[in-house]
Structures are given as C-alpha cells and as structure tokens.
Amino acid sequence: MNHREHQSELPFVKVQQADFDLTAEITQLRQGHKNIGAVVSFVGTVRDINEGDDVSILELEHYPNMTEKALEKIRLEAHQRWSLEASLIIHRIGKLHPTDQIVLVAVASQHRESAFHAAHFIMDFLKTNAPFWKKETLPNGEVRWVDSRVSDAEAKQRWDI
C-alpha cells in the first residue's frame, strides 16, 4: 500500500452516476508507479438480453453508507492476497441502458499473474458482497428485479480454498 492510498477518503473506490473513461482512469491509477508491468481491467456492460427477454432500462439501487465500505474491504483483501501496486473500483448507479458501462475494476502489478487473479477476485466478491441491486424494464413496460445468479455464489466459493 503506498502513500497515495491515504490522500483522500477512499480515492480508489468510486460509486457514481457518471460514466467513466477507461484510458483516463488507468492513466491516473498508474501515475507515480514506474514499476508497473501489468494492468488488468474488467469492464462490465449492460447486455440487451436477460433471461431471454430484451431489456430497455437497467436501474441500479445501492445502500449508500455501506457500498463504498464494502468495496474498499474487497479491494484491501485483494492487496493482502497478492502483491499489487494499485487498484481501483468504480461502480455506476442510477438508470443505465444496453451497452452502457456499469463497473470498472482495474488492478496494476509488477507481473501479470497477480493482476489477473486480483481483478477476477474483486469482481467475484463484488458480485456477492457489495450492496447493489438491479431492476430492469422490458420494452413492454414490465419492471422486475434481476435475480441473483447461483453461478456468482459458486464463483466466490472458489477463492476460499
């Protein structure tokens, strides 16, 4: 953990309505770390189909006081498990549409192995431990809460070995 981690309140976890720019975020994350050799980024995007139905709008609700704390906990756990130079989590909230970016997880390290594992780990835990809920609107106006996926719970188990 380097000095920049303590500069402001959770500068490496952002929960926001605004979209993000991958290049800008990665550039900022790498700033001041000359020994980075690998940067793995995950971008989650809104698919236009869920459970066989077209989706028009996806709305993301969250638990404001808990969300950033939960994300930071996952991020720090990744820094404990692997040797990382820097990491960042951005999660959008509010109304989104198909092809919109929802989430960014970026991890920078000296070698690729740890960055790949840590980014995957953060996403698997974010999927089960961060308090976000998706509500989708179908083209016919029907509104429904998105069901959690059994595969997400299983994906998380994998890391407990």
Binding site: G44, L126, W133
Partner: protein, 90 residues
C-alpha cells in the same frame, strides 16, 4: 435531544424488492432485541408478508452497521440493521 433518542433505538432499513414488498424503506424500533434473530421474530408477528419476506427467507441478507451480518449477530442501541435480497451488482 435527538442523539439520546437515537441511542435508545435501532434503525432498520429495507432495500430493493424487500422495500417494495414491505411497503417501507426504513423505521426505528426500541433497542429491545439482543440479536438479529430476535428482531426478525418480532417483525414476523406483523403478518404473513413480513414472515415470508424476512423470517422464512433462506436468501435473506443482513448487514449491521454496514458490515455483512447473520441472524446470530448481536444488537445494541444505535445500531443500523439492513435487510435485503441477494445483491446483483457488477
């Protein structure tokens, strides 16, 4: 004073489908429950809807003071308890 009042209560929050099914987002109750489980038993008395959504729900997720918790987690005055369905972010 508000602070004293708040200290004798627990603050309860309901999120996502729970908020819609229970028809409310939050409430304050006297801090008279030792554990989350006791609080859930009390809420179940309100009717079938409360029992089904919370008490009987095997997928019920719980947070106490913004940390993931369980039915066995202890409660004290001033705690914030949140009930919600499995999360679906990312």
């Amino acid at each position: 004073m508000d602070n004293v009042l708040a200290d004798n209560r627990i603050h309860i929050l309901y999120f996502a489908s729970f908020r819609e099914q229970l028809g409310q987002a939050e409430e304050c109750l006297p801090a008279s429950y030792d554990t989350v489980s006791e609080l859930l038993s009390e809420l179940a008395v309100r009717g079938e809807n409360w029992k089904t959504v919370l008490f009987d729900n095997k997928n019920l997720q719980i947070a106490v003071n913004h940390d993931i918790a369980s039915r066995e987690t202890c409660l004290k005055s001033g705690d914030e308890v949140a009930f919600f369905p499995p999360v679906t972010g990312g």
